[in-house]
């Protein structure tokens, strides 16, 4: 999400402190992990905003054009198999798409939990996940990587 290890570490540290100091505000409406993910998510957004990235452009629209194709040739040239290729492309997904994908696959959150963390509707969260996968799928098809499944 932050594309920078130091920023990620700083945000994580900040999130732990915020969570500790706001424990009394935890009402128990959602799971504790969802509440904590939300703190991390908001802290990361604040960091990104403070770095004056074009967050609004990245975040507001679900119809944004993926720029995966721009990085495709370079990534394809430096990877040996489909898995490595997909993993490198995830990093190039738009912010929200990458986040939904990581929360779903790495952290094992349900779509419902992800929608709570990101403050989006369940339908939009599902759309974000499907679009991310479809974008990755289309690039795999371009290079015939689907044959690796056989």
């Amino acid at each position: 999400m932050l594309k920078n290890e130091m920023d990620a570490e700083e945000v994580l540290q900040d999130s732990f402190l915020k969570a500790f100091n706001s424990l009394k505000d935890f009402r128990g409406d959602a799971k504790f992990s969802t509440w904590f993910y939300k703190i991390v998510f908001n802290s990361a957004l604040t960091t990104i905003a403070s770095k004056k990235r074009k967050i609004e452009q990245e975040m507001s629209s679900y119809d944004e054009a993926f720029e995966l194709g721009y990085n495709d040739n370079r990534i394809y040239a430096t990877t040996e198999n489909a898995q490595g290729y997909v993993l490198k492309l995830v990093d190039k997904l738009p912010l929200r798409n990458a986040l939904v994908t990581i929360l779903f696959y790495v952290d094992g959150l349900s779509l419902n939990e992800i929608s709570q963390v990101m403050g989006t509707s369940l339908v939009n969260t599902k759309v974000l996940l499907h679009r991310s996968r479809n974008a990755l799928r289309d690039l795999l098809l371009k290079h015939n990587y689907q044959e690796e499944l056989l």
Partner: protein, 175 residues
């Protein structure tokens, strides 16, 4: 033949289709090579994403966080104690001032008429206050006060029980 949409394929990957829909999809895929390719590619994406390596926090990160938390909580505690000390100090100063004034007024060999007047006023107010208290604690009033206190005690007991239940629920959610 039903059109195989991206949504159907994604739902299949996420195990969101029921048995009948899966059978229907499998039948449709026999005659739809394009959709079959898409499904294979989606499976590769899904498998790859499931194998994303989790990046762990750097070594010593937990200790660093804990030391920061301990420091910040110490600060909070010291803030509270400063406040407590200052309030207690203020009260002590007030009590000492009143006692000093009383001592000065009673021991002063030549009390001025003003001081005598103010002391008389204070003792008058005190005796009024004592007589009000005596009226309040007469037999018939004690019963009323006891009832009111009992009701208040029951209400506060109820709220205490509710907050305990809420706290238990929070603990359950945490685990």
């Amino acid at each position: 033949m039903k059109k195989i949409t991206d949504e159907i394929l994604n739902d299949y990957i996420d195990n969101q289709l029921d048995g009948a829909s899966i059978q229907e999809l499998k039948m449709d895929l026999y005659n739809n090579e394009e959709a079959l390719k898409k499904l294979k590619a989606l499976k590769v994406v899904d498998n790859s994403l499931k194998n994303i390596e989790v990046i762990h926090a750097p070594e010593g990160f937990t200790n660093r966080i804990m030391s920061i938390i301990v420091k910040s909580s110490r600060k909070a505690v010291s803030k509270v104690s400063y406040f407590f000390v200052s309030v207690i100090g203020l009260f002590t100063a007030l009590i000492l001032a009143v006692m000093g004034f009383a001592y000065y007024s009673t021991t002063s060999s030549t009390p001025s008429t003003e001081k005598v007047y103010s002391l008389n006023k204070i003792s008058e107010y005190l005796s009024q206050f004592v007589s009000i208290l005596q009226n309040v604690f007469k037999n018939q009033n004690i019963t009323t006060i006891g009832m009111i206190l009992t009701v208040l005690l029951l209400i506060s007991g109820y709220y205490l029980l509710e907050s305990h239940k809420e706290f238990k629920n929070k603990l359950k959610n945490l685990s």
